[in-house]
């Protein structure tokens, strides 16, 4: 049991001078379920990419440290080599061909073949398939998982949970599989299916396969894993046997940043009790960020943060309100119901949006800064236009004047207001997005991931700007961000979204443990009141 199967030794990796892994070591033993946990960007995926020899690693200069399998150092240069070493991966998204049967999917490219007259003449590619043997193998693999699926069924009609098992069956059917990586395997499964999966994982481990289990769900980790390794900001924080730790402990280590509350409460700043925005039972069908029934109230004049892990639906809320993805539910703004799936009406009602997708939704990259800034206000509110009766022409001078004012106010670094938005740096692009939102003179500003992909200096500027808008103009702001530290630095309250719903609302001064647990979907540790 204690045999070392896989060993990472002092792994470091940087992308273009940006260190993402610092001296990480980790050992997976035979028959062990080893959980790997960390926030988004903690370095889990990079570590796995190194294990699989992904080209993204080699093309950026390789890595430092060594990877050892059964005591021997190996150099893996491609995913194919990783497979030869007995390393398998169960993907988060299913990589199955819907029109093929279960057997065909499991055996794809590893078919058992028989000779026939044609193949003897024209070569091995034309050999026949031995379905009987293949079905037998497939059934065996499925039985190992205790799954009762007919191996001749087509994948297309099967429930999601079954597809996950077929993926696993494909991996364990491979000869000499030693290590199996599960990347958030339960993300798309219902509770009962997830439970089955965890049981199957346990069974596989008992057969002597080493399992690396990546998940955000702390309760799962506690129930299935033997050992847990925590990464944070590319650093190895701890490796502990599960029996010596707890969900709260893990959560604390996962977040564990010294929080700086640099929000000095100015005396004249008042948040009224008046509700500006009321969201009731909002469902948004945004791929990868599905919202499944959110209730939330935003008070006039506050900065409300929306946090949570990637894929849990926090980004879907603002996108749903703004009509970018199909939504249903009820959203009331200043006592008036906002029509959903109607961007124009929402914008007209004084709600502005700075999207997380800066290059796609946020900007017209090939157009000058001035048009980018003026565009929404022009189209929605008929600003910057001269009316000639039948046709409304743009007021070039007014646009330029306004753009120059914004460039000065927000300190947008550019050669002129005619510079194309696409040629600006990330931080300056973000300022253009904010400028466009401000041009609408909104009463409510929705900001999503305002500092994503921006260097540290510019981050502070953007956050200061939001704070300033809130304090000086009394603008109500809803800020969605993956960076908890950022939310805690400027928000009044922070709603944590987990699995498409609001798990709870915390104060920025609450403990790391509380944040960590709530983000990971553990609810029983909270002080009452949460259903």
């Amino acid at each position: 049991m204690s045999e070392k199967l896989l060993e990472f030794k002092n792994i470091s990796k940087s992308f273009y001078g940006n260190q993402v892994l610092k001296d990480v070591s980790m050992t997976v033993k035979k028959g062990e379920v080893h959980a790997l946990i960390g926030e988004n960007g903690a370095g889990k995926s990079t570590l796995m990419n190194i294990l699989f020899g992904m080209s993204a690693i080699h093309e950026t200069g390789g890595f430092e440290g060594s990877v050892m399998i059964e005591g021997k150092e190996i150099k893996i240069k491609s995913p194919h080599e990783a497979m030869d070493h007995g390393i398998g991966m169960v993907h988060q998204e299913f990589m199955l061909i819907p029109g093929f049967t279960v057997t065909e999917n499991i055996k794809l490219n590893r078919e058992i073949t028989t000779d026939n007259a044609v193949s003897k003449v024209l070569g091995g590619r034309l050999k026949g398939l031995d379905y009987e043997k293949m079905n037998h193998d497939a059934s065996k693999a499925l039985n190992t998982l205790d799954m009762d699926i007919e191996s001749y069924a087509q994948v297309a009609g099967l429930p999601v949970g079954h597809m996950q098992f077929i993926e696993i069956a494909r991996e364990i059917d491979k000869d000499g599989i030693k290590i199996l990586v599960f990347d958030e395997p339960t993300a798309v499964l219902a509770d009962a299916e997830a439970e089955n999966l965890l049981k199957a994982i346990r069974r596989l481990a008992d057969k002597g396969i080493g399992i690396i289990f990546i998940s955000h769900r702390l309760d799962e980790i506690v129930s299935v894993a033997d050992t847990v390794t925590i990464l944070r900001d590319g650093q190895h924080i701890a490796t502990k046997p599960i029996s010596e730790t707890s969900a709260a402990d893990i959560a604390n280590m996962m977040i564990g940043r010294a929080v700086t509350i640099d929000r000095e409460e100015s005396a004249d700043r008042q948040i009224s009790d008046e509700v500006a925005l009321k969201i009731e039972n909002l469902h948004v069908n945004m791929p990868g960020e599905r919202v499944k029934g959110v209730d939330l109230e935003v008070r006039k004049g506050e900065i409300l943060g929306i946090g949570g892990l990637a894929g849990q639906g926090k980004l879907g809320i603002a996108n749903g309100i703004m009509g970018i993805y199909p939504a249903k539910g009820k959203v009331t703004f200043n006592g008036k119901e906002l029509p959903l799936n109607n961007a124009k009406q929402v914008l007209r009602n004084g709600v502005a949006f700075v999207s997380e997708d800066r290059k796609g939704i946020g900007l017209l990259l090939d157009e000058p800064i001035e048009l980018n800034i003026a565009f929404t206000a022009m189209q929605v509110e008929d600003k910057f236009l001269k009316n000639f009766g039948i046709i409304k022409m743009q007021d070039t001078r007014a646009i330029k004047e306004h753009a120059n004012k914004m460039i000065k106010d927000l300190d947008i670094r550019c050669t002129s207001s005619m510079q194309k938005a696409g040629s600006l740096s990330g931080g300056n692009q973000q300022k253009v997005c904010v400028a466009r939102a401000l041009t609408q003179e909104p009463q409510l500003l929705l900001v999503s991931e305002p500092t994503r992909g921006i260097d540290i200096g510019a981050k502070k500027l953007i956050l200061d700007l939001l704070k300033q808008l809130n304090e000086e103009m009394g603008m109500t702001i809803v800020m969605t961000s993956s960076e908890l530290a950022e939310l805690r630095s400027i928000c009044d309250r922070i709603a944590i979204v987990c699995d498409g719903t609001v798990a709870g609302i915390l104060s920025p001064t609450d403990s790391d443990t509380k944040f960590g647990l709530m983000m990971s979907g553990v609810t029983e540790f909270e002080e009452g009141g949460n259903e």
Binding site: G323, A343, L365, I391, M393
Partner: protein, 354 residues
């Protein structure tokens, strides 16, 4: 330091115009030089260039709205062209002549083009992602459909019918209705013996260019451009992407319809049936040579492109005939340049409807 700045600006100018455009321009100049040495009249060639550019100008201009709206160059130009042809035929049948004929043709063609362009725009919205392919087939299909239509028309005008049987002739002479070169000759004048300036036609072309330029500075025009650059951005700003695409293609169809009227009066003949089957390709090549891409275009691209491309076509033919007597090389060259350019531009198109 000063020289460095100058250098940079020179490079900027080259990049601004675009290297393909410069190559074609150099090639055009080269042909004119060769023509001079073969004792061909360069002035006549230039005069023809101006005339052909004026004839084709609106057809090239028709590419602009559809490119800006993100549906790509309007390969379905024949749809607009057939609207124009039908309008002209109707105007002849109803007995209009001269300016009356021209005015009625333009007015009718606009009406037809709005209706047909609207339906065509709806079609494009149903096939997002493969607009250019669908447009090409739609253009071919409408031509074939109209072939049947021309034969079935129960028109009585002796100017248009076959001498025996039913239907319209392949080529209808416009001098019979007093409309031959009617726009060209408006305020037209000779410079010297060989250079004729078709003032009316050029003014009409530039007027249309100006109107289109103005339109793309209006609220609707800017909305169309935004839809073309980024559907997601436009939607997030509350624009109706589909409506804007339809509007752009209506405008494109109208320009195509008026374009063929201008073309026909300058040519002196009204050609129907399959004469204009491939008309879109020359127009697409024209705007691309002018520096446009399949996703972005300006009025300046239209003007530069139509003069360069038509110049090349008009002057290459006599020069090639001089050098390689008895061959059809100039037509082959035309095909290579025209289709080569379309091919080049299409390889630059980014995949998907965003």
């Amino acid at each position: 330091m000063l020289t460095e700045r100058k250098k940079l600006s020179f490079k900027d100018i080259i990049n601004g115009i675009g290297i393909p455009t410069l190559i074609i321009a150099a090639f055009f100049a080269l042909i004119l030089v060769i023509a001079h040495f073969y004792d061909l009249s360069v002035v006549t060639l230039l005069s023809d260039t101006v005339k052909r550019a004026g004839m084709n100008g609106l057809l090239v201009l028709a590419m602009l709205p559809s490119i800006q709206s993100g549906t790509g160059p309007n390969f379905a130009l024949p749809i607009g062209v057939e609207c124009g042809l039908f309008a002209m035929v109707l105007a002849i049948e109803w007995g209009f002549t001269g300016w009356g004929w021209f005015g009625v043709s333009v007015a009718l063609s606009i009406v037809f083009a709005i209706l047909v362009g609207w339906a065509y725009g709806k079609l494009l919205n149903a096939v997002k992602g493969s607009e250019m392919t669908i447009a090409t087939y739609a253009g071919f299909a409408i031509c074939s459909f109209m072939c049947i239509f021309w034969l079935m028309l129960p028109f009585k005008s002796p100017n248009m019918g076959w001498f025996i049987g039913q239907g319209l002739r392949e080529t209808i002479q416009l001098d019979a209705v007093g409309a031959d070169m009617i726009l060209n000759n408006l305020l037209g004048f000779w410079i010297g013996e060989e250079f004729y300036v078709p003032t009316g036609m050029l003014l009409f072309f530039f007027l249309c260019c100006f109107l289109v330029w103005l339109f793309f500075r209006s609220k609707s025009g800017i909305a169309i451009s935004a839809v073309g650059s980024s559907n997601a951005f436009a939607e997030a700003s509350g624009l109706n992407v589909n409506k804007n695409r339809v509007l752009a293609n209506i405008i494109s169809t109208i320009l195509g319809a008026i374009g063929i009227i201008v073309f026909s009066q300058s040519y002196g003949y009204l050609q129907i049936y399959t004469a204009h089957l491939n008309i879109a390709f020359a127009a697409v090549a024209g705007i691309l040579i002018g520096g446009a891409t399949a996703s972005r275009a300006k009025v300046s691209h239209v003007i530069i492109g139509v003069f360069l491309f038509q110049g090349l076509l008009t002057s290459a033919l006599p020069v090639a005939n001089q050098i390689f007597a008895g061959t059809d090389l100039s037509e082959i060259m035309r095909m290579i340049i025209q289709n080569g350019f379309i091919l080049y531009a299409l390889t630059q198109v980014k995949k998907g409807g965003k």
